[in-house]
Amino acid sequence: MQTRKLHELAKTIRSKNAGVDRITFDIIFRDRRTYDAVRRSGAITRDSVLALYGLPESRLTDFVEFDPAFAIKFTIARLRPSGSAGDPDIFGAQQYAPLLDVEVHLPDNEVFEPTL
């Protein structure tokens, strides 16, 4: 087994409002092979993102693997709508950071070029 950080494997890792009550997260890979390898690794699943963000299952509204974009995408419910007083991220744009360092365990025979 070799271990990589998710940011070494993904081209894009981002978060953004999806309407006023939700924040959606996109993890996009450069090619099919990396996308498939990360999916097989089980590093990004419904359970792993719930654990990472400390959320109950009810807050995870969507979890989708989107093949045309080689992307894993999930969406969470906000506790209060975006832009309410006290909301520190009204665009939901900086909530992805904990995903960057998620460890992905991959077979030794897979060779991955670091992505920029």
């Binding site: 081209k11 894009t12 953004k16 409002n17 999806a18 309407g19 006023v20 009550d21 939700r22 959606t24 996109d26 996009i28 450069r30 990472l52 963000y53 400390g54 959320l55 509204t61 969507d62 989708v64 989107f66 045309p68 974009a69 080689f70 992307a71 995408k73 969406t75 419910a77 506790l79 209060r80 709508p81 975006s82 832009g83 309410s84 007083a85 006290g86 909301d87 520190p88 991220d89 009204i90 665009f91 900086q94 909530q95 950071a97 904990p98």
Partner: protein, 452 residues
Amino acid sequence: MQTARIICPNGHLGFAPLKPASFALGVAAGPDFIAADSGSDDIGPGPLGSDTCTSPLAWQTHDLEAMLLAAHARGVPMIIGSAGDTGTNSRVDLYVGIIKELAKKHGLAKFKLGYYYSEVSHAYLRGKIRSGDIIEGLEGRDPLTETELDASARVVAMAGVHPFMKLLDQGADVIIGGRSSDSAIFAAAALHRGYEEGLSYYLGKVLECASFCAEPYGGKETVLGEIVDGGVHVTAMHPAQRCTVASVAGHAMYERSNPNHEFVAGGMLDMSQCHYEQISEKTTRVTGPRFVPIDRIRVKLEGSAKVGERFVGMAAVRDPYTIKHIDTVIAWARQQVHDRFGATGYELHYTVYGRDGVMGPLEPVKTPAHELCIVVQGVAPTREMAEEVCITGTRQMFYARLPEVKGTAGSVAFLFDEVLPASPAYRWSVNHTVAVDDPLELFPTHMTEAGL
């Protein structure tokens, strides 16, 4: 069949200015329509509630001027949706006025200027609620109640293609729209030219954020979209940008919970069978989108309710013992506000930068930094009370009583010893849908003239 080549220079007109160089290339490519969306709910509920713009007038005018002159020179329609960030009636009037002023300034020959409104009256919605025609909540919200309706300062409805198509049919040269679905602005143009719904709505979907569907990343650059032989072709105009399979497919899921389905007034765009193909250096072709019409149209509503006047304060901490006990410091200050004003009738928010300021309870890192900045927000019915709530909640952190603190001359550092007036606090009170019998009933259209 006539072509429907559409350029979009800006994903949120006014929020930041379009980039003129790629826009000029887009205009030179010979578009049949020049269109852009000018609204977003990302800006929070404040502008809708207070009926103001978050975008500066100068930037709005800059983009409207560039688009108007290009459209007029080519003799093609210009279409704007969600005028002035929120698409309220006053923002539509503002943009109609800007277009008229620009036409006069440049001595443009007379042209037809169409516009429509999107605000929905409380009386209309109250009638729906009382008649049992439920105003359904989106994203898990309960149905709209009269109490929440009464709390709302303003409600807008999100138009589909219908008012745009009506105005195009009437020969409008320029259209200023109230609130609308982003994709509808562009889809209406393609539908007007007789293209089928699936491709037309997908064309709108891909163009709505301008160069966000291209790579490398770079906003406010122009993209060109058209329907060719049963597929949508999208092309980046900036010399260094390309529309690739990855960038176009990636954009399909941008700011949406579900990458396969997009709901608009009138139905649902199904992108689950889309096929993406790179057909040249800068162009990607998309085939397979389908549109599924709905029997009774439901229109999305957005409403904003005022919470109160607001002041903001700031304080910082460097003592490691105080950092470790920052929640005790905040609890002390909260208690002082409670002693003065009671438990309810105001809001007091603490955002602790250096610990979990950006993510709050979602933050997995539990070790704070060596210094913290605490931003305090006080919200209350009057400015006087909001200021006092905020200054009490801020200044009392200075006097927090920590049993083992070495520094007994003050628990926090102040950047300044005052609190600052901020915009009033609003909240999204309406995120619902209402059923309509006629897709135009919430969107009255008007036609006027501009130019000499």
